[in-house]
């Protein structure tokens, strides 16, 4: 009995020690720690780091130039020479997948940045100012939300022209209203808090209050949304490329590779399977990562954890 009590005291002490150690960290470091402690988060971070690393060092690790066509080597199956086979133009599929990671991740990052920058800013301003400004901005985003995302993406690309950068802009625009609504909800809550009243009473300018006080306090849900949006953006870019509206030939994009491979699935399974696997791998990682980010920043989850 006494031994059990001693053991319990020791466990409590260890947990207290862990909690104290966690409490001693900054909120950011605490969140990162929680993501890494979460198995799903660990998988997500690993996948993300791996994919980013591959994209970053693509020129050094690609066995071939991804756009060079090797005449006579069309539709070769995986071999020691071409590890993942070749496409209908004799281009190395492994090299194209490696370079394709660059496009997928770049489009993901750019589109999230666009969505975050414009959405969060407009949402915070509309939520904080309220009134007509709020009404006008909200109706604008309501209009955007009324369109199915893929349709909106197609419309934007048709106006701006096909290409990876324009696809990123299209995906980014479709992200704006989502970030805006989230930021607005945060602003509506935060602007009634004492610290906001205090800042206002001290004569703080509105822009300062919005960006120095409201934004940091709305950051957690926005970061969670960024992680979710990243996975969505990669998928949407692949969809646009699949439709021929994303990266243009000969740029390697996983979506366009999947699209072109359809004609050859009966004779060259590797052409569609490997880009598809790469896309699945990255999306699973991003989804795990976004789940872990949400858990790490969610106050309820944090309380349960303690």
């Amino acid at each position: 009995m006494a031994a059990e009590r001693v053991e319990a005291i020791r466990v409590d002490a260890i947990e207290d020690e862990g909690t104290k150690r966690e409490s001693a960290r900054s909120p950011w470091r605490r969140s990162i720690w929680r993501i890494l402690r979460n198995p799903a988060g660990m998988i997500g971070v690993t996948v993300l780091l791996f994919s980013s690393g591959v994209a970053f060092v693509a020129p050094y690790i690609s066995p071939y130039d991804p756009v060079i066509q090797y005449a006579g080597d069309e539709l070769l199956s995986p071999s020691a020479r071409y590890l993942l086979g070749t496409d209908e133009f004799g281009r190395d599929i492994l090299s194209r997948i490696i370079y394709g990671a660059r496009i997928s991740l770049s489009v993901g990052l750019i589109s999230v940045a666009i969505g975050f920058a414009f959405g969060a800013t407009s949402g915070l301003i509309s939520g904080y100012l309220g009134g007509r400004v709020d009404a006008v901005i909200n109706r604008l985003w309501d209009c955007l939300l009324a369109f199915p995302v893929i349709l909106l993406g197609i419309a934007v690309v048709l106006v701006t022209g096909p290409g990876a950068v324009n696809a990123a802009i299209a995906v980014g625009i479709s992200n704006i209203p989502i970030f805006a609504r989230l930021a607005r909800a945060c602003a509506l809550t935060e602007k009634e808090r004492d610290y906001t009243h205090a800042a206002r009473a001290l004569g703080g300018r509105e822009t300062r209050i919005v960006f120095r006080h409201l934004l940091p306090n709305a950051l957690s849900p926005l970061l969670v949304q960024s992680a979710v949006a990243m996975a969505f953006a990669v998928l949407l870019e692949a969809s646009l490329s699949f439709l021929g509206l994303g990266a243009q030939p000969p740029e390697p994009s996983w979506g366009s590779m999947l699209s072109y491979s359809r004609q050859f699935l009966r004779v060259a399974w590797w052409y569609g399977v490997f880009p598809g696997a790469a896309l699945t791998f990255l999306l699973i990682g991003l989804n795990y990562f976004s789940d872990a980010v949400r858990d790490a920043f969610d106050p309820r989850q944090i309380n349960i954890g303690r």
Partner: protein, 524 residues
């Protein structure tokens, strides 16, 4: 002077062009379709024949040759005469015809009792209207060919006289391609697709399907054999063959060359037919007024950068032979000694660029529409890769077919583009008169904007005499100019493959690959 007769025109025109034509206007390299009358099986009537292709129907007027239309030309409309499988002209709406002694007038005796789908009787006034529409409407692709007719006289309801300024060797090409339209409804958007053909339009859902039913008052006794003809649009090339194999359609047109070869090897369950071999060619068209292509050497450099052999081998799966010449190998206008004048030589291309002062290369664009026809997207990518090797950074602009047509047919706004030209297997003169890629200047519809007095002189020579030796000399001059100027650069025959189920019988098509749906029946 000896009187000119039908035989003189046959000798000079398409049908007499070459014995090789017999093989041209039959199937290409894949298989031989069986005409309805050739088999011993008795013809079965009734049923629905479902045909599919990637291109949608944008317009029902048959004089505007837009890809999706080929599926219904011979279903909805008739021409005055048509070529048979041996490329001999046969009566259609014109029962018989006679040439004047000087060969400059053609009197057509029209079939009586022919009705339009609207119920109105077909008369010589409709011939006059169709000719005038074909000559004057800016959207009519072959208007330049029809302008050879200077006047149409209609002495009575069943006689039409076509008058020409000179003898016109390609007169049968005019009779075979000039679909007769209904003058009363052609401008009425609420009454579309009124012809005299074996089927009439029953239902049309844009970008999805058009459904046709047998025309009960059709003039050709006993035809059509089918009750219904459905033309479906399946934009996804890879889905075409799958639909055929699943039984959802009976025939697919313009399937990929890979699918064509695969279906052919399935023990007779399907027939893959590479279509009219002489129909046309893949080409690279260059706007001679666009920078830096005003310089002939730059265009020549492009011509030397096209790996035709590779395109034929990898994209066409060996179904076509590379060529740099404008007429097909069986034509008398094909000069074997000129074949290979331009080949694949990147060093030569670099040298030409250097001579043009562009050894460092430049940026340009390649316009294509991969949904328009199999091969468009692939050729653009192969060309792009080869141009990169000589320092030319070309952006591939793969657009929707409607936008492609707008930039080419309507605006003539291209820099460099992937294209196929048709009418190559007809009379050699019809190619340089009726196919926009080879006409003289943008005013005649040539998007390359190439214009030359010398070209026009030899074109006139080719199209205004029945003397074969003179015609050959003119064709050779035109071919030499084309090889030198490189405004339209031929690459390989543009085979448009049909694949259909084994139970489809009597499947034939005209020299433009338009199926003769009235002849088709289903043995199931």
């Amino acid at each position: 002077m000896r009187n000119l007769g039908r035989r003189d025109f046959l000798k000079a025109g398409a049908a007499g062009a070459s014995l090789g034509l017999l093989q041209a206007y039959g199937p290409g390299g894949l298989s031989v379709p069986t005409p309805a009358s050739a088999g011993t099986t008795s013809i079965k009537r009734g049923g629905t024949f479902t045909f599919a292709t990637t291109a949608s129907i944008q317009e029902f007027n048959p004089l505007m040759l837009i890809p999706g239309q080929y599926s219904f030309f011979r279903a909805l409309y008739n021409t005055l005469a048509h070529y048979d499988a041996q490329l001999k002209p046969q009566p259609e709406l014109a029962e018989r015809w006679d040439f004047s002694a000087d060969g400059k007038a053609l009197t057509l005796r029209l079939r009586q009792g022919v009705k339009f789908h609207s119920g109105r009787e077909f008369t010589s006034a409709d011939v006059k209207h169709s000719v005038e529409f074909g000559q004057t409407n800016e959207k009519v692709t072959m208007r330049t060919l029809y302008r050879a007719i200077k006047q149409v006289e209609t002495p009575d309801k069943y006689t039409a006289v076509l008058k020409f300024d000179s003898v016109t060797p390609g007169v049968y090409d005019i009779l075979d391609t000039l679909y007769i339209i209904d003058k009363e409804t052609i401008g009425d958007r609420s009454r579309i697709a009124i012809g005299t053909g074996p089927f009439r339009l029953d239902k049309y859902i844009p970008n999805d399907r058009a459904e046709f039913v047998a025309f009960k008052d059709y003039w050709e006794v006993g035809k059509p054999y089918l009750d219904r003809y459905v033309m479906r649009v399946i934009p996804d090339l890879s889905a075409l063959a799958l639909n055929l194999e699943s039984g959802a359609i009976d025939c697919a047109w313009q399937i990929s060359y890979m699918d064509a070869a695969r279906l052919q090897g399935m023990g007779g369950k399907y027939v893959s037919d590479s279509g009219a071999a002489g129909f046309g060619f893949f080409d690279v068209a260059i706007n001679v007024t666009a920078e830096p292509f005003q310089n002939k050497k730059v265009r020549q450099a492009i011509a030397w950068s096209i790996d035709r052999e590779r395109f034929c081998k990898t994209v066409m799966r060996g179904l076509g032979q590379p060529t740099c010449l404008m007429w097909p190998s069986y034509s008398w206008a094909y000069f074997k000694d000129l074949e290979g004048t331009i080949g694949y030589d990147l060093d030569k291309a670099r040298a030409l660029l250097k001579e043009a002062g562009l050894e460092k290369g430049f940026q340009t664009e390649i316009l294509t529409a991969s949904k328009r026809m199999v091969g468009y997207g692939e050729m653009a990518q192969i060309l792009q890769a080869d141009l990169r090797k000589i320092g030319i950074n070309a952006r591939v602009l793969d657009v929707e077919p409607a936008l492609y047509d707008n930039r080419t047919l309507v605006k003539g706004d291209i820099v460099m583009m992937i294209h196929t030209y048709g009418r190559a297997g007809r009379d050699p003169g019809s190619l340089v008169t009726g196919a926009r890629a080879w006409t003289n200047g943008w005013k005649e519809g040539n998007w390359t904007h190439f214009e030359s007095a010398e070209w026009e002189r030899w074109r006139k020579e080719l199209t205004s005499t029945l003397d074969l030796e003179r015609r050959k000399a003119a064709a050779r001059k035109l071919q030499e100019i084309a090889l030198d100027e490189c405004f339209t650069i031929p690459v390989a025959p543009a085979l448009r493959v049909f694949a259909y189920a084994g139970y489809v019988k009597g499947f034939t098509y005209d020299p433009d690959n338009s199926p003769r749906v009235g002849e088709i029946w289903l043995d199931k």
